[in-house]
């Protein structure tokens, strides 16, 4: 599944630039502790989190995840948005919980 298909299927809001690299999504990792995410998230995972500070961007780059999904309506500030756009990191937003998002993803990826 592509990021664009995930956005459509789950009704996610794209908060970074609307033109983005449409990477493959092969699953997800849920976590807010950056070291856990660094060690466990796999390339092309969607990373579901409520962590929204600038440090999530380095983790996203290093793990080569396909996108960050901020759940429970968490947003990011302008500094994070602008750096994410500079680095080509896709940040998506949803009012749903991490469980709901992962559950829906699981259904689609079956």
């Amino acid at each position: 599944m592509k990021v664009s298909e995930l956005i459509k299927a789950l009704g996610l809001e794209v908060i970074t630039e609307s033109s983005y690299s449409d990477k493959e999504v092969n699953g997800c990792y849920i976590g807010d502790l950056l070291s856990r995410v660094m060690g466990k998230a796999q390339e092309n995972n969607a990373w579901i989190t409520i962590m929204n500070n600038i440090n999530i961007l380095a983790v996203a780059t290093l793990t080569e995840i396909s996108c960050i999904i901020l759940c429970e309506n968490v947003g990011v500030d302008e500094t994070v948005l602008s750096k994410a756009n500079e680095e080509g990191i896709v940040i998506l937003k949803s009012p749903k919980s991490a469980y709901e998002i992962a559950n829906e993803m699981g259904e689609i990826l079956k």
């Binding site: 502790l33 070291s35 500070n53 600038i54 983790v59 290093l62």
Partner: protein, 136 residues
């Protein structure tokens, strides 16, 4: 080839930039993706430690022959109890640092897991030097 990075202890927002930059170098060199992932994880953790616990320092990353060597030096407070610091989940990070998502107590355990050798020299009040080797 040696790359040198200055790790400022005052700005957590740039934590991870040295690791990201060195990862890009390894990619350009066509290094195996699995090795790059191990280097990226270990380097990121050591970079964060140097910034958060060491108050900043420097990193030297060398690719030579059949190995990658990463040396992190800081003049911070040192690690008072290395055995405890090596335990998964043990952390001395402040509440402020934890709120940023750090302080999971996975730093040194992750580094050990993803490198072929790890050597730590630390002295209270004088600083810490961490030397990591990943074989190619």
């Amino acid at each position: 080839m040696i790359k040198r990075y200055i790790l400022s202890g005052e700005d957590f927002s740039i934590a991870g930039e040295a690791s990201s930059s060195f990862k890009a170098v390894l990619k350009k060199l066509g290094i195996d993706a699995g090795i790059i992932r191990r280097v990226a994880i270990a380097m990121y953790e050591a970079e964060i430690n140097t910034i958060v616990h060491g108050g900043g320092g420097e990193c030297e990353a060398e690719i030579e022959g059949n190995k990658i060597t990463l040396v992190f030096r800081d003049q911070g407070p040192g690690i008072p109890n290395l055995d405890l610091a090596m335990q998964e989940g043990y952390s001395t990070a402040t509440e402020e640092i934890r709120e940023l998502g750090f302080g999971a107590g996975m730093g040194l355990p992750n580094i050990k897991k993803y490198t072929d050798s790890m050597n730590i020299e630390t002295e209270p009040g004088k600083g810490t030097t961490v030397t990591l080797v990943i074989n190619l």
